[in-house]
């Protein structure tokens, strides 16, 4: 049973990674904590649901729609929400995205109510069993997709000029600008990419998790923990940390008690901030 729990933790963690990649990229380049990240993911879950309900489009296929759509949303988000506050007071930056989260979540609540929507793809009840261990198709697919996207991201970041530019800006935006990189365009791309990843995560989750306006909050909190553990700004760290947090949460609930499963993640969060704020993969943080 423990093995089952651990393996399931990996699947859960992969989703946390996917969500936190966006967070960590946005922080890495713009030094903004995006509180609305979770609610954007929630919106893409709804989009996935509506597409499935109305035109019978499987969520995995809808990823091809959601990725560019959320990329666009992210780009606009950067342009209209983040850009004005890039140079603003730090408290302004914190609260702007928080306000946006309130707006998105409650607008969704107002129009689409608090009912739980369930997507039931044809593979929802497809299971792979190996002795005592069982995997359900939606989670396996989600895990695989998350890993694949992470690998793809790594290639993008290291082999393409845009990716390298993003890393350059994350490291030192002034120097990057001096080298001729259009920093603002990179900001837009990063935001788009990060939001697109959250969107994909949402589509993947919707195959096995009921959709509801509050869904974003739970995943987002975990994504924050993951981001900090994996070193803020470090997308590879986010991937690893996500898996760690997913397994930790699952094992805690199994061995100790379900009621503290979330508390443990937060305690890890605080301890990381206090003891090793650079995270596990200690990058030197910009001031």
């Amino acid at each position: 049973m423990l093995i089952q729990v651990i393996l399931n933790g990996f699947c859960l963690g992969a989703i946390y990674s996917l969500v936190s990649i966006g967070l960590t990229l946005i922080w890495g380049t713009m030094k903004i904590i995006n509180f609305s990240h979770g609610s954007l993911m929630m919106v893409s879950m709804y989009i996935s649901f509506w597409l499935w309900l109305i035109i019978d489009l499987d969520p995995l296929i809808s990823i091809f729609i959601i990725f560019p759509l959320m990329y666009g949303v992210g780009y606009l988000f950067q342009r209209f929400i983040i850009m004005p506050i890039l140079e603003a007071e730090r408290h302004a930056q914190l609260l702007m995205t928080f306000g946006l989260m309130l707006v998105i979540k409650n607008t969704v609540l107002y129009f689409w109510r608090a009912d739980y929507r369930v997507v039931l793809p044809f593979y929802a009840d497809l299971f792979f069993r190996m002795g005592e261990i069982v995997f359900d198709a939606p989670r396996v697919i989600a895990f695989t997709a998350a890993i694949a996207l992470s690998i793809g991201l790594h290639f993008f970041m290291t082999k393409t000029s845009t990716g390298v530019a993003i890393r350059a800006v994350a490291q030192d935006s002034e120097a990057a600008s001096a080298m001729g990189i259009n920093v603002h365009k990179i900001y837009g791309i990063t935001c788009g990419l990060g939001t697109a990843f959250a969107g994909v995560a949402g589509a993947l989750i919707s195959t096995y998790y009921p959709v509801h306006p509050d869904v974003g909050t739970a995943f987002m909190f975990m994504a924050f923990v993951t981001m900090v553990l994996g070193s803020m700004g470090n997308y590879l760290g986010a991937i690893v940390a996500g898996l760690i947090i997913g397994v930790t949460e699952g094992v805690t609930a199994y061995l100790l008690s379900s009621s503290i499963r979330q508390a443990v993640a937060f305690i890890v969060f605080v301890l990381t901030l206090l003891l090793k704020p650079e995270g596990l993969f200690g990058r030197v943080l910009r001031r």
Binding site: K31, I33, I81, P84, I85, A88, E89, R90, H91, A92, Q93, L94, L95, M96, F98, G99, L100, M101, L102, V103, N106, T107, L109, Y110, F221, F224, V225, V228, S257, S259, I260, Q262, A263, F266, I267, F269, V270, L273, L274, P277
Partner: protein, 327 residues
């Protein structure tokens, strides 16, 4: 930045005195309990915003986890009364003591964290406390604390269900007290040191200001005062549960008036509350609560975009023209 708050014209004191005098005699007009309740909540949130402002506005430690102190205060009163049969007034003493200790314990390791990190850490700690309180059976867990209602007028039991006017005046007194305290701190050496370390911690240290000690001092004051408001909440609602007292939304309710009115300015949170609370109740009546939250989110975004230092700061800038270079 908000350093310019010392230029608030002293006329504002007169305006405040007149308005407060009016509010003091308002209940005598017999306006009905609903209005008393709404204004009570107005005072309540103005007070909370002031407390929050002490640490976040004056000391620059942007706390997103202040609800933890609020909840501890509320629970102190509840546990004292329901478990030990003691008067909740004791909670007004014990609550601040507990939260002061808590603030010290939390502040000591976290105050050296830089801005965003501190905000996240304080948020996480408040969530941890909320989750722990949810599982803590001794104080009720998710069930919370249900007061055996006294349903009359009892000073010893700190319950005035029969007549909410007493709550009104208690909160009013607390608000005046907090306002005075804030003003005193603001115009004291202590306040100067705080604002110095807020604006530039390194420079403050070089002036041999013990930044940690000062931050801890204001944190304990802020936490203690917040706990007292928690006690009043407990005695007003007569029902305490972790989600209504310790969640991030409670902290949001505390900080929104301060942000609107003016961070780091004495009167800021009060003005913010006086604008925000009536608007939110009016909105509730006309467009329903969900949309009301949407509007509040939009207001927050607008404030942050156009007047991140708050309304009062904008007014001050207008009145007292530079010499000062506007940002």
């Amino acid at each position: 930045m908000y350093r310019k708050s010392e230029l608030l014209p002293h006329q504002i004191h007169w305006i405040t005195i007149v308005i407060f005098a009016a509010l003091a005699i308002f209940p005598c007009l017999n306006p009905g309990e609903f209005l008393i309740d709404v204004i009570f909540m107005l005072f309540h949130y103005a007070y909370l915003a002031l407390c929050w402002n002490l640490i976040s506005g004056f000391a620059g430690q942007f706390s997103l986890g202040h609800a933890a102190y609020y909840g501890v205060g509320a629970y102190t009163a509840g546990v004292l009364f329901m478990r030990f049969g003691l008067t909740p007034w004791l909670g007004m003493l014990l609550g601040p003591m507990l939260t002061a200790a808590l603030a010290l314990a939390i502040g000591y390791p976290t105050f050296r964290l830089r801005y965003h990190y501190y905000a996240l850490a304080s948020l996480a700690l408040a969530e941890v406390m909320r989750l722990l309180f949810l599982s803590w059976d001794y104080i009720g867990g998710a069930y919370g604390i249900w007061y055996k209602p006294v349903l009359r007028y009892s000073w010893i039991d700190f319950q005035f269900t029969a007549d909410h006017i007493v709550y009104y005046y208690i909160m009013f007194a607390m608000l005046c007290g907090a306002l005075l305290l804030t003003w005193k701190i603001r115009h004291s050496d202590f306040g100067l040191r705080l604002m110095a370390l807020r604006d530039d911690e390194e420079a403050a240290k070089s002036l041999s200001i013990n930044t940690l000690a000062n931050k801890l001092a204001i944190a304990t004051i802020s936490a203690g005062l917040t706990a007292m408001a928690g006690v009043v909440y407990a005695q007003f609602t007569l029902f305490i549960e972790p989600d209504s007292t310790m969640s991030i939304w409670v902290t949001m309710d505390m900080l929104l008036p301060a942000m609107l009115g003016g961070l780091g300015i004495t009167y800021g949170p009060v003005i913010g509350a006086f604008i925000l609370i009536p608007i939110s109740w009016a909105l509730r009546a006309f467009i329903g609560s969900t949309l009301q939250v949407v509007i509040r989110g939009i207001i927050l975004m607008l404030i942050v975009a156009f007047m991140p230092d708050g309304l009062l700061q904008v007014i001050i800038n207008r009145i007292t023209r530079p010499a000062l270079i506007r940002r």
